[in-house]
Subunit: 247 residues, 8 copies
């Protein structure tokens, strides 16, 4: 709805004030929606629509993908099963599936210039990291991956210090005691997005040990997302990266 | 220590290899320290040294402030008492104290161009927000404050939507159910740093209700710092803002 | 048992006092039962008997349904499987089954005049909301459904503000950070029954994040039922609605 | 702001469309605010403005009371100290203070016809119950108090069953194992608002034992507010009572 | 009220059935009260009335003591301060105060024949044990005390095995890891009432470590009361002891 | 080993002191074992050996049953599967299996004179209650069962008050809010063993809500066993009942 | 890389300082790696490389085993399935599998002189104990096993006191209330490594009851590893044992 | 009591077998006590008696110190106040007090040859570390202190790697995210005793964040003591160190 047109119609006498009033009564939220759309439009330069597939019927998921692809040319689906992917593939033959991160992607964003570094403590954290990586890439960011660089063997992380310090934002995925985030944040000057993973057993309580460790880091510059929330971390890192240029 | 000079001295015969070897044995960490210093040097363009005053003896605190001011010309002290400030004032007469946030500041940073928006759910969240604000300002960021704009009366937040959308990063401080972060993140396209505060009673468990709410937000683009950690949020927001230019 | 008749029999000499005493010894609870029956009778004008089917043997469940239908003409079964329904259908061919909410219903209540609004944060909260809706309808209330109106996109909720404000009671079902209840309660003047759902992952701890958020709401007028307890919310909302007329 | 007038001015040519557009840009929230005001106006018939005094400076509290009293003629302050009351008394000599519940009240609402029953498990729950009672009374409801009727001696509660069953809404305040709510809800047909109190020691964890018990009640018709939240319960009970007439 | 008399009056025509009906309407609970009184009468043979003094005004406490002493000749007050005792002493000059357990006692019960053994892990558990001891003694039980016999030095407990095996019931008070209950229950054939105490620090969480240990004992024959609930343990042990004779 | 014989052999010179010393070095624990055996002998008059079958291989379980039956003539197995039972049946054809409680029993104890009452809040608590009942019966106690007498309909419990008050010990099994224990303990003068069950959903946290409620009961005379621990409750109730005679 | 050689090359003019500087820039971590290697070399005298098999693809696991065996001649795999073992067996025909502890071992370490004692509370703790035993043995330690010596029957533990006191380190594995660690530590003078196991049900919360008990032990000399972490305990005990000689 | 003498008296006819039997009846525990004494004797070569002063009356504490000093010549008191020390000083003028760790020491142990390294993450962890240091020194160990070497600035720890690797056991004290333990254990080959401290705020929950992190470390070789339990860590480290010689 176009408010200016409406006002002009009122000014021209094409619309009586009572009818205009009724239309305007709903305006705030249509207006807000408009604001959101505008805002979304900006975001969409590189940010895909995202579908949380888990729990959705494969056929419906395929429909949603098709509609979003028509509108945006760029769709990301997270926590998708092989069945979801098979359904999507029927309507969007260019769709791709990452078995590790369970992500479906359609289309390629324009890339921004800066880079995001994504590191993990161990190999079992990789699916979460990979979800972050694909999300960030679909949001237009370049990604450097440093997997299995946990603090039990510091030299693994140290040998890649240059790459770490070269990023606009860093994602640290770790389960167990989650110390990776603290160590990384002590070595760089950019924001570290910490992703606690549910990797571990016993008193890790499904990721709580890493979550608490990351929230209580002695290093400044760390903020935390939900346990196993690779998507969230990739999204925020891309938001940050899209603000910055190459260092 | 200058590694090149050492190597030149060895090359020139001014230093025997055994002595050089002994010196280099400690090198890794001095080297790393050097990297850190280099890295710190960059950070210091606008980022102050920070002193967590709580639990420190006032006189010692004053000494630390004096030394850091000499090195950096810019010092921030958080969780400082009036006694801390009185001691600091004796050695640094230009020091300032914010009674609300319990911050001591000395010196002024160069400002970067972008802005950070800091909003709170209620008036009781203001001390935490103010710690974030002063931290961000000492790190060179401009700050727009929107206090008491909680979701129980949405129009308070909505009436300042333009200012929100004008920031490079947003800090949302809220206690109780911490819903402010979710609502804000749904309205903007930049990262939201959520700060759960310990405001509330009963089943808020000293801020846990807000913390969990913020970690589980249905809005993308939110990362979380520790309960009442205004400093952490201000620091990260400034890191992000220093990456971005004016929108 | 009829106390008056007993007393008259004693007065008439048809019953000796010792026998009457023995009968009265059990009276308190029969009397209380009577009070309950009386009370139940009132409730039953529109309130069905409710069977929690989960864990019950299908055949037994069918028997219970049959007996309750004979007594009340109105039965509601919650958390019922298809097997439960198949068994009930054999004895009560008019029974209906809602696959989404897993509810079996037999009979139709008289409707009261007012309305209940039921809203959800997302689509995954719908089964819980649907259990609430069917419960409220079986208790005689009209229901307006507003599903998927979560706070990440406020305009969805705002565009239905009139309908919200037109209800005698509102049920807000949300998982994750559960902010929907707070936002809704800030916009209306009737009681909001908040239902935390177990939707989410990681630090939502099976619905605890939403539960705590709802208990700690900054908005007045919110009370909370157990996680995923759609039945409880529908029942209370109907109790409230039956007190009020159309606004 | 009056949208109709604006439209008429546009229709009359007294306002150009660009200026009108600018004015309308802010409309959503002013409009929403208007809606809220309208909504608030209705609420205010019997519902006071409420000030959470705890943590507020006494003088500021007095100012707030004065302003609200001018607007509404009815003010309620909760969790107020004697110091708060002394300050309020200077500007509003008719203010009253309840030492038990720590509530300040100014003015008297019009009463609605129905009644709310408030019961407590023990004598130590009375301050919370009293906050609920004063809140409900300031919202225009009549209140029947049944204190110290806990389940360890059921006859205390049973002897007042008539009064219980005569209410439009019931508030049950109890600490320790919080069983009062379940027993009460089993005896009545109106909504029970359960208030867990922090009364107890050891494994009551500051009210958590009662909170969990109330959320998990085997009786239908119970919803729960935060630990010690007498205000919340009184407010909701009054919302419910204002919907119903005398039974 | 005497139901038989009432019935006889109806039989005799001294009472009309309507009036009798009205009187009987309240009967259940008066009847129940009667039942309770009867039951209490039995209990009172050796079981005192108990006053939880904490939080009560000293003068009121004294009044309660006086009234209970008149009725029962035996009163126990727990968690009483010196101020409580001073007030009680004015009205009941024979009252006694135990500074360690904070108990006030008036009167002496008749003793039953059997014995209760009360043991503690350490010396800091003694106040809780002493509350249990005085409660049990006021309920007519003989008590054998074995304090500071914790499992870190098993010989302390073992050297008193005869006394342990000579009791009708055993109370085991322990903080920290609460292992005493398991070890004791493995050595005897009578019920062990376990009292977790809040003694300890860090991850004892105010007694939770001992509480959980006692609930999860590998020994059969242990039941548990609330943290620091010496009164409860003493009361139950006396209930058990009053059932048994000397072994 | 017979200490007296050893001493006599030393006295007679049949044993040298060094050899005797070596034998005595192990004595404490053999002695203790003897004490235990003696003690066990007493217990065994009516108390069966108990096998926790869960996790045991069926064949091994059968062997254990056979050996224990030979020694004691009385064996109880808890948490046994049908497979366990089938294996036991091959070696002990008189073994019986309770499908509800998953208990295997062989042999019949001598009965003591008193009675234990076992009540449950709902029908879903019955398996736990049945485990308690069979345990108590195998320990020689008579059991009165009152199932489905929860507090949501008090008259169900009240109508069986006489039977409740006729027991030497009462077991109260309840999930959800666990209020049954408090209500029962308020009506009787014997110990109540409370068994929290894991029945419920959402914020019952697998039985924690009932556990906390029972630990925090406002009624005296309640002690608590682990969640779903019917065996433990039956064992303790039988210990208590074996101390008492008929009331 | 050999730093001394480099320095000599610089001294000799065989290497220019710029090239040497570039080489030294990476030195810290290569150096650290070297330190680690050196350190690892020492450790490897008796300490195997360890593979956490759970979640690894069997074929990849076999490859890892093969490579590690080539390097070290000694490999330990924990939490391995039969499938893992079958794959390993194809490349390393001497591999052995322990079904109880799910460990794969290849090769035999040189044995150190001292001994480790490993005790468990019950038979269900044995898999965890066995993982500890195999780990310790693969690290070169001799192991004495005392299984099923829980505190419910102290004589079982006491009869093996000599063996306990003969060890350089003791591992105590127990679930439920975890009291074994406290009792053992009270009897010996060497470090006790406590392993809480997840054995139990209800309020054991997957091993938390034992974990808290062990952390809060009243006996000195106990340190704790994660729930069910037999590997960790065996590794530490071997570290300790390798320091000590035969007592 | 001397068993051999007793046996000789029996052999000699100086003691009749009945009297000897009576004496032996108590033997197990006296014997065990003897075993303990023997064991303690060994321990006492370097291990002091330890008094937990907190909560003890100063005069009594002084008496205990005096008696222990007479027996052992070596006493350690932890968590002692200045008042405790003043009382001890009156009877033992050579007593010393450490204000930081609140430890009282009397006497000096013989030193063993090896060393313990104690490191802390920050300066606020020093009191806990100091308690560990004094305990270890009183147990005869040499201690190397590395305070304030937290992972936010790794070079601080790395620059002291030689000293770390030179110890027989390492104590790592850290609050907040407790990552220090993981990093240290990754760099050494000896056992690391991790001490979580209660340093931090918000979601550190009084040390729980560090406790969980340390229990879940990705590095092998870490065991954990209770929060703030410096004594426990020092004691264990000394036990380990006394087993080892100089590396």
């Amino acid at each position: 709805m176009d408010v200016k047109t409406l006002l002009e119609e009122v000014a021209n006498g094409d619309l009586d004030t009572q009818t205009a009033y009724e239309k305007l009564k709903k305006l705030p939220f249509e207006n807000m929606e408009y604001a959101c759309l505008d805002h979304h439009r900006k975001i969409r330069t590189g940010f895909p629509e995202v579908v949380f597939c888990q729990g959705k019927v494969p056929e419906q998921t395929a429909n949603i993908f098709e509609r979003l692809y028509d509108m945006n040319g760029l769709v990301l689906g997270t926590r998708a099963s092989k069945e979801h992917f098979d359904s999507v593939l029927k309507v969007l033959p260019d769709a791709k599936y990452c078995e590790i991160s369970k992500c479906i992607t359609v289309g390629s964003p324009e890339k921004t210039s800066g880079k995001i570094a994504i590191c993990t403590g161990g190999t079992t954290d990789i699916p979460v990291a990979q979800e972050a990586a694909i999300t960030a890439q679909m949001c237009g960011s370049n990604v450097t991956k440093m997997y299995d660089v946990g603090v039990a063997g510091l030299h693994r992380l140290m040998s890649r210090l240059d790459e770490l310090q070269d990023a606009n934002a860093i994602i640290a995925c770790a389960g167990m005691e989650g110390a990776l985030a603290s160590v990384v944040a002590g070595l760089v000057r950019v924001p570290v997005i910490a992703v606690p993973t549910s990797i571990g057993y016993g008193a890790n309580f499904g990721g709580v040990s890493a979550l608490l460790a990351m929230l209580n880091s002695c290093s400044a510059g760390i903020s935390v997302v939900n346990i196993d929330n690779g998507f969230g971390a990739g999204y925020i890192a891309a938001q940050i990266n899209s603000l910055g240029g190459q260092i």
